[in-house]
Amino acid sequence: MDKPYLGQSCLEQGYLARYLAQQILPEIGKIGQDKLMASKVLVVGCGGLAASALTYLTAAGVGELTLIDDDVVELGNLNRQILFTEADVGQNKAESAKLRLSQQNQHVKINAITQKFNLANGLSLVNCHDLVLDCSDAYSSKLAINYCCSLTRKPWVYASVLGWDGQAALLTLHNRHAPCYKCWQESAPHGLRNCEANGVLGAAVSTVGSHQAGLALQYLLGYLHNANCLWVFDLWAMEQKKFQLSKRHNCKFHSDKLENLPFCSYEELRLWDEYILLDIRSGDEWDIGHLPQARHVSPGILMEVEKYYKTTQNLVIYCNQNTLSQLVVENLRNLGYRAFVLDGGYQAYAHLAVRKLD
């Protein structure tokens, strides 16, 4: 992001007047406003939740917002998706939202991606943002966000609505002790539990979306006192309640060693005729030291795996301690690849590493 927002230039460009009402809050101030202006947020889904959440993030001056949605506006969306008008019917939601939000605050950089968020495009997108907002309307999308954020260790703000009800939670997955979505929502909801099938009240969506924006702004400002709690809203009963979430010991996103995944040792590899050893740690870690014969790839290997590897090849994956590699291997296996986890990860074989200084 360009930085015309910081320092004296803020005053020059009228930023102070624009954000004064929030900047005089002791929890924000000039430092907090600069933090917001330097932040990048990815928003998955541009329906009802996003209408409220995006409106407040844009108004608050979050520096860059990336909107991703492949859906088009329908007349039946307008009871809750209040960013759109009748003139937007038939238009892509991300593009229409971008147009509207750009008119709201010209100083926020807004990107629109007219695709469905999935594992293929999600990893690299999540990786280049500070925070992800889940404004999606499907369990599969929430799982994809959870997966990408687990892999890249990025925080996300979950939210869902249905009928008169909603939920929201800030999940700080950059902290390895934090719970993920699967820690409490283990299985897919029974039957069709979406707005089209069960109905939804616009005011309920707006309440939850605003709450989601509040959680996002708190995180971007550096406040974590509401992290890893599930907020539950019931607009029919006019109730709101907060429950603490905790990491589930047998959640596969955190377990030390997943069941049913093939592990192999570095010694065993020497007995194999053919294999490809893939290092999915960061570029900096790779530069400092890596295992002999390894190739460096990003965890986003899943995005284009078919371009580079065949399902008949033995792909052996390692990260530092097996956390990310297990998730990648599990997913590669689901895609039909012969993938293996290098047992113990890089740390188990660091003494064999090719080092920069060697």
Binding site: G48, D137, A159, V161, G163, Q167, A188, P189, E239
Partner: protein, 84 residues
């Protein structure tokens, strides 16, 4: 022990429902007993299936299926929601 239920959203109809259950029963066990208890009652037909994926919580904490309940308490029912 006596377990009272308070239902949010689609499980709201179960608010005030009470079950007598043995101490040290897990959340999975309580879920099963609750489903058995309402199965034959037509007024709860709409909520029966939803209970299989509903999250249970005490006054302050979301619980997993293995968590044991040791004494009288109120359990909140948080049905899954997926709309956006």
């Amino acid at each position: 022990m006596q377990i009272y239920f308070h239902g949010f959203g689609a499980t709201r109809i179960l608010s005030g429902y009470m079950l007598e259950i043995d101490p040290l029963t897990s959340i999975a066990g309580i879920r099963k007993k609750l489903m058995q208890s309402i199965e034959a009652q037509e007024k709860y037909a709409s909520v029966y299936d939803i209970l299989s994926t509903t999250v249970f919580a005490t006054e302050q904490q979301v619980f997993s299926d293995e968590q044991l309940i040791v004494s009288d308490t109120t359990l909140h029912l948080l049905p899954p929601v997926c709309g956006g």
